[in-house]
């Protein structure tokens, strides 16, 4: 059983690329799935909008597999959560 983020990324890829969900795993590379670099960029952009985050360019360049995309999004989500917490803390 995948965690929520992994499930969301896999579901999105399967839906947008008309692939059976079981054929997409965190180990799948985009090459294997027939997704080119523009396709990977579109995928990350869709998920950025869904999750309300920004994936920096240097993260995006490292994304070659489904697992890479999940890791990048997880890092960015963790950073965003930390910032929100810091912002919410009492000042001074």
């Amino acid at each position: 059983m995948y965690d929520e983020l992994t499930q969301r990324v896999i579901g999105h890829i399967a839906r947008t690329h008309s692939l059976p969900e079981e054929s997409v795993t965190p180990e799948s590379t985009f090459d294997e799935l027939g997704i080119d670099s523009l396709g990977a960029m579109c995928l990350v952009a869709d998920l950025e909008i869904e999750l309300g985050v920004d994936v920096p360019n240097e993260e995006l360049l490292r994304v070659k597999s489904v697992g890479d995309a999940i890791d990048s999004l997880a890092r960015v989500l963790a950073g965003a959560a930390e910032q929100a917490e810091a912002g919410a803390a009492p000042q001074g």
Binding site: T16, L38, C42, E48, G52
Partner: protein
């Protein structure tokens, strides 16, 4: 190499009259107008509500989901029309022919729908993010590029953008390349999908659009009606077409261009006449041999008398023997795709010996005193025809055709 004769061996079309050249021709020969209430945009804040939209165009019927997502609607129209034209021409691709086939597509406004979506996302969504495909979809050359990729051809390829003359300029450039031997085959035409609200607002502000329908050459006409679609022609040397037993639907014999150099929206009869004369000169055709004119005929107060004056200036007394029809009354003014739709209409008129009418005609205008083939198609075996396009900005382009078996 001497100049070669150039045959039109295939046509394809997507228009308000249907998806396919046969659908376009059926509508034109019935005098049926594809103009109706606009469904793809909310027109409640516009002074007009009618357009010539393409209904029932399902991208999924033509493209895989990912391929469809790569394209704006105008590119999808272009590829579908190009496939149809190539299939009709019975082109058998060889590596050599792929290397030497040109693609030239006209578009006046490019991917308006994709551009508008990017603007709306940028200005009005929470984080102002736009889709990564916004630029590849919206760029003016997208339709040309998508056609080259879909057909797998590698010859000269470019987009021509001269507003409402875009298609005629595109077809003319392709014609000259095939005639001179720069290309062994060309797929040429135009594509447009302008039904994006901000774009419609622009036309509304210009007060150029009719509140009801398009009535070219009619007294009391109230303006143009916007349309959308695409049309493509396959051009190849006449000898090559005959050698491979391809259908010669018509011959493309002349192309002429001019610039009014006067006003950005008010056309000049001298400028239009100059382009018609240039096309006849290029075709080595004397004016009295022309029998049919597919007019620019927008249905605006200004264009139609100007075009009448231009035709009288070129053809003199012979103007009274010309049949002149404005098919924009049926497929709408599809801007950069209009010339290609009208080129297909002209080719099929020569082919079938039937002149499409000027639809929605009610009452003659003394300022447009030509035989405008009102409302009903007319059987006539015509040897030579011209098709006019005159753009905003005063850029004019005219094509001359000869019947295929002439």
């Amino acid at each position: 190499m001497g100049a070669r004769r150039v045959a039109v061996t295939g046509v394809g079309a997507v228009s308000a009259l249907g998806v396919g050249a046969a659908e376009l021709w059926a509508g034109l020969s019935d005098g049926r107008s594809g103009i109706g209430p606009i469904e793809s945009a909310d027109c409640s804040t516009l002074r007009f509500a009618n357009g010539a939209e393409v209904h029932g165009f399902d991208p999924a019927a033509h493209f895989e989901r990912r391929a469809a997502e790569m394209m704006d609607r105008f590119s999808q129209f272009a590829v579908v029309a190009a496939r149809e034209a190539v299939a009709m021409a019975g082109v058998e691709w060889t590596p050599g022919l792929r290397e030497e086939t040109a693609v030239v597509v006209g578009s006046g406004v490019g991917g308006q729908i994709s551009e508008e979506r990017a603007f709306v996302d940028s200005y009005f969504t929470d984080r102002g993010r736009t889709h990564p495909l916004s630029i590849p979809r919206a760029m003016m050359n997208a339709a040309t590029s998508q056609v080259t990729m879909d057909l797998g051809v590698h010859g000269p390829a470019f987009t021509v953008s001269t507003a409402c003359s875009s298609s005629n300029h595109a077809i003319g450039q392709a014609f000259w390349m095939v005639r001179s031997g720069t290309a062994e085959m060309a797929v040429a035409g135009g594509a447009e999908a302008p039904f994006a609200l901000a774009h419609l607002k622009g036309w509304d502000a210009l007060r150029a659009v009719s509140p009801d329908t398009c009535r070219p050459f009619t007294r009391g006409r109230q303006g143009m009606v916007l349309g959308e679609g695409a049309a493509m022609l396959v051009l190849e040397p006449l000898e090559a077409a005959r050698a491979r037993g391809a259908p010669v639907l018509a011959e493309l014999v002349g192309f002429g261009m001019s610039a009014d150099a006067s006003h950005v929206t008010v056309p000049s009869a001298e400028g239009a006449a100059r382009a018609v004369r240039a096309a006849l000169r290029d075709a080595e055709l004397s004016p009295e041999r022309v029998e049919y004119v597919n007019a620019h005929g927008t249905g605006t107060a200004v264009n139609d008398p100007m075009e009448t004056a231009a035709l009288r200036a070129v053809f003199g007394a012979h103007a009274d023997r010309l049949a002149v029809s404005a098919t924009k009354s049926m497929h709408g003014h599809a801007l950069g795709a209009s010339g290609a739709l009208e080129a297909v209409a002209t080719v099929l008129a020569l082919r079938h010996g039937l002149l499409p009418p000027t639809a929605n005609f009610t009452e003659p205008d003394p300022e447009c005193d030509l035989d405008v083939v009102p409302n009903r198609a007319r059987a006539a075996q015509v040897e030579h025809a011209i098709s006019n396009s005159f753009a905003f900005g005063g850029l004019n382009a005219v094509l001359a055709f000869r019947r295929g078996d002439a």
